[in-house]
């Protein structure tokens, strides 16, 4: 790849930018919708604070401190979408992993009317690991 914007260091910086922004976003989502199972913090205010600072900080870093020059060509659309998708998936995996570890002592509770249709609603009561482990324990039927 030629030049700064086509270089692997640019790709890495772009991926870090999206990755951190999505990590921050997920903490805001966890706080807003009380998804305790994917939250890094018990207190909602820390979720909002962490998320806001992560998003604002990574935008300022990427556009202000990486040497990005917008008068030079950046990504074509296909590679940009590819690295965006990779970064988003990684950020979701890390969020699920870290939150499952941080909340490993959370007592999983099941609502009496909990069904397969609940989806992410279940993450209010269980970590992602607890939920997915139960899914596989029951042969994919819950």
């Amino acid at each position: 790849m030629d030049g700064y914007v086509g270089s692997w260091s640019f790709v890495a910086e772009y991926c870090v930018y999206v990755f951190i922004a999505v990590i921050g976003l997920m903490q805001i989502i966890a706080a807003k919708w009380e998804l305790r199972g994917i939250a890094f913090f018990h207190a909602k205010k820390w979720g909002y604070t962490f998320g806001s600072v992560a998003i604002a900080g990574v935008f300022i870093w990427f556009f202000g401190f990486t040497g990005l020059d917008l008068k030079e060509p950046t990504f074509d659309t296909p590679p940009q979408l590819l690295w965006l998708a990779v970064s988003v998936v990684l950020a979701l995996l890390v969020t699920f992993g870290v939150s499952s570890f941080v909340n490993r002592n959370m007592k999983p509770t099941a609502e009496p009317d909990e069904t397969q249709r609940d989806g992410i609603e279940v993450l209010k009561r269980k970590t992602y690991w607890q939920s997915i482990a139960r899914f596989f324990d029951k042969g994919g039927t819950r």
């Binding site: 917008l70 008068k71 397969q116 989806g119």
Partner: protein
């Protein structure tokens, strides 16, 4: 039509290259690395949002429609670029008159890919959630204005992009209607693994 298009272009592009920090802000807002990323992040937030399952399902269909519309809009732009005669970019057609404060793109000017993709994201979501669709159209409008301001598109290119975004969303709506059972199954599968 062409004259009016160029007149409006020069009026908007003439606003640039006077105040450097305003140029810097609009250049940043117009690039592919800022607002499109904000829009995608907003769609992730929409995916996980909703007071109840019905609300969330509606939002998730909005996200599917939005992303699919963006994909189809990009495809339509690609087809247009192959079929329509190439329109020179403003900075190529009027090299001495245009304030180019961005890198010079090499693809045809008409239609605007950036406008098509960003409006497709907004309109796709608007179909399922009017309020969020209007909110998402704000970055699309900023990107579109910015592309004229920085000297890489005529206003007509933007309108062409908008028309393709509407067409793309229409196509996606028909496909979603036809594939509703399949999409419902896909969403149910994602719910089983706590991703929807």
């Amino acid at each position: 039509m062409k004259h009016a298009d160029e007149t409006v272009f020069f009026w908007i592009n003439g606003l640039s290259d006077h105040v450097s920090w305003i140029d810097e802000i609009i250049r940043t807002l117009s690039c592919d690395l800022f607002l499109p990323v904000v829009m995608i992040i907003a769609l992730i937030a929409v995916w996980f949002s909703g007071r109840n399952i019905a609300d969330r399902t509606k939002n998730q269909y909005g996200v599917i429609c939005s992303l699919a519309s963006m994909g189809i809009a990009n495809l339509l732009v690609f087809i247009c670029n192959g079929v329509l005669p190439d329109r020179l970019r403003p900075f190529e057609a009027f090299p001495d008159k245009v304030n180019l404060i961005f890198y010079p793109p090499t693809d045809p000017s008409f239609p605007s890919n950036a406008a098509a993709a960003s409006f497709a994201l907004a309109i796709g979501l608007w179909v399922y959630n009017r309020k969020l669709g209007y909110i998402l159209s704000i970055p699309a409008i900023i990107i579109s204005f910015g592309r004229v301001y920085i000297g890489v598109h005529y206003p007509l290119d933007i309108l062409g992009g908008l028309a393709l975004a509407i067409l793309a969303t229409g196509i996606v709506m028909v496909v979603i209607k036809l594939c509703r059972p399949v999409l419902d199954r896909l969403l149910n599968l994602m719910r089983k693994i706590y991703l929807a």
